[in-house]
């Protein structure tokens, strides 16, 4: 019960927070086709988040719904990795983050598609398809920008350099993950290999950046985030919280 709930929150919060970052692109994308595509990715992740949060509220016996969990938890109760909460930066920066996340999350969902919990298994099974598209989209843009103009290559490399220290957190297993989910450390090798292949094709360098340090051993999965999450949640939750008891 508690472990399943905690695990669903981790994965659900990853999807929810990244969906929020993607929606920030709306009306700011470099091209209309990208407006459509980024909204689409956001909708996929939002859909996953809704199912996972709902499942978390059932599994922990609290009966909290998706909205109660999304809008009424405090920052330290969010369990997402720090990668997804980082500000968008420019388009290359967002593409770099998406590439890392989609590659890793797709690999994880493949492992989870056979999970004993039917909801988690269903989210993962559909998620495999969705994330494959996200990965393809991010890969296509990584290639275009990496092998486009010298300027775009520099931006893409800078974006990768900026997000790379946040990648490792996806592979550091939390006790809950080991008990109920899949061991994410098993993904490190294959994901890094996939990413290295994409970067090689794009003419980009695999960053040497070391992982971002945690705070006394605690990071996103423990509710210890970066300074980026607070303002994101303030905006995300403001209307819901200004109207307690309201239905929408």
């Amino acid at each position: 019960g508690a472990d399943l709930a905690a695990y669903c929150l981790m994965l659900g919060d990853d999807a929810l927070v990244l969906a929020q970052r993607l929606t920030e692109w709306c009306t700011r994308a470099p091209e209309l086709e990208e407006e459509v595509a980024l909204a689409n990715l956001g909708l996929d992740l939002l859909g996953q988040a809704r199912l996972l949060l709902t499942r978390a509220g059932q599994a922990d016996g609290s009966g909290r719904g998706e909205d109660e969990l999304a809008y009424w938890r405090e920052e330290h109760e969010f369990r997402n990795v720090r990668l997804v909460e980082a500000p968008n930066g420019d388009f290359a920066h967002s593409v770099a983050r998406l590439l890392l996340f989609a590659t890793a999350r797709g690999a994880l969902y493949r492992l989870l598609a056979g999970h004993p919990d039917p909801v988690l298994a269903a989210v993962a099974a559909r998620g495999v398809l969705e994330l494959a598209y996200h990965q393809e989209y991010a890969t296509a843009w990584t290639l275009r920008l990496g092998d486009g103009t010298p300027y775009s290559a520099a931006r893409m490399q800078a974006g990768l350099d900026a997000v790379w220290p946040l990648l490792d957190e996806l592979f550091v297993p939390h006790a809950v993950e080991l008990r109920i989910g899949a061991d994410p450390s098993a993904l490190r090798e294959p994901v890094l290999r996939t990413l290295a292949a994409v970067l090689a094709e794009a003419g980009l360098t695999v960053p040497e950046a070391r992982p971002l340090a945690s705070v006394g051993g605690r990071a996103g999965r423990d509710g210890v985030h970066t300074e980026a999450l607070g303002p994101l949640l303030a905006e995300f939750q403001v209307v819901a919280r200004a109207n307690p008891g309201a239905t929408w």
């Binding site: 859909g47 809704r50 486009g148 103009t149 300027y151 109207n243 239905t247």
Partner: protein
């Protein structure tokens, strides 16, 4: 001459002019201007509601709003594509938008101030747009007419979602009801102005009607919108901010007050509450994205060169 007669005959027979058909320059110019403005309106129209995307108060509403924004970008794409069949390209039209040389619907120069505005835009603004657009599904220019069919279908879906949001809010807390009424108070008059100036002040209407680009006058459409909206407002439980509103038994229609045309004029001239903000945002996105578009072109050129080798 023969071409002109053939053109007139097609119009008279309520058939469609297609891209390869001959058409009068003024017909083409009128269509380009109208379709471009319409496309721009879809794209600029993403902003007022997009303002609430990151703050939508439930995940379901966030998903609905995001899907709607996606639809609007898609409508923009169809419409720019329809304009391109007339020999202009999207980049050129975008350039005209961001430099302020082409307009979009003035309604989007008003601010969205609460989440209820999202619902009211769905109900009234999309509602008015539908009144304007349904007749365009029978527009004489084929690509535009076909784009409108698809767009109208999605717009009426958006309108229902907007109205449903308002119904939910009216059944909610006191604060929610207050928000809805306040939003209606702010959007009602601008919505009426979406149909353009009174017929007496709309010099191009006659020609557009003759060409079957337009099917009804501004005032006819405005009346239709009022007649449609009044019972919806009653059902919702909100008051429309027009003391002159009263049922005219004789006409079988609602009488209503005169919009503040001087305000419309100021907004059209660029002094509305959000004109500068809307165009700036679009221009900023366009400029910020320039290097990305260039990279994509450079990449495609490299791939083509490779394939040609």
């Amino acid at each position: 001459q023969v071409q002109a007669e053939r053109f007139e005959a097609v119009i008279a027979a309520e058939q469609r002019i297609e891209p390869r058909d001959w058409m009068p320059d003024a017909y083409r110019a009128t269509l380009v201007r109208q379709i471009a403005q319409h496309a721009h309106s879809e794209i600029i129209g993403m902003q007022p509601e997009g303002n609430w995307l990151t703050r939508a108060p439930s995940l379901r509403r966030k998903a609905i709003l995001l899907a709607k924004a996606q639809d609007e970008a898609g409508h923009g794409l169809y419409l720019y594509a329809a304009a391109e069949t007339l020999g202009v390209d999207r980049a050129e039209l975008t350039e005209k938008l961001v430099s302020g040389r082409q307009k979009y619907s003035s309604i989007f120069n008003y601010p969205t101030l609460t989440f209820a505005d999202v619902g009211v835009i769905g109900w009234l603004v999309d509602g008015a747009a539908i009144c304007n657009q349904v007749p365009l599904c029978r527009c004489s220019y084929g690509p535009y007419a076909r784009a409108m069919v698809r767009i109208c279908k999605e717009e009426s879906f958006h309108q229902r979602q907007g109205y449903e949001l308002l119904m939910t809010m009216m059944r909610g807390t006191e604060g929610q009801r207050r928000m809805v009424q306040d939003a209606v108070d702010r959007w009602w008059w601008p919505s009426l102005m979406m149909f353009g100036p009174p017929d007496g002040d709309s010099p191009n209407t006659a020609r557009s009607m003759a060409w079957r680009i337009k099917r009804h006058t501004n005032d006819e459409l405005r009346q239709r919108f009022v007649d449609m909206s009044v019972p919806q407002a009653e059902h919702l439980g909100v008051t429309l901010p027009d003391p002159a509103l009263s049922w005219n038994e004789e006409r079988g229609s609602w009488d209503f007050g005169e919009p503040d045309w001087s305000e419309l004029k100021r907004v059209i001239q660029g002094d509305g509450p959000c004109n500068a903000q809307r165009v700036d945002r679009r221009r900023q996105a366009h400029e910020d994205g320039a290097w990305v578009r260039e990279a994509a072109l450079a990449y495609a050129a490299k791939r083509r060169a490779e394939a040609a080798r």
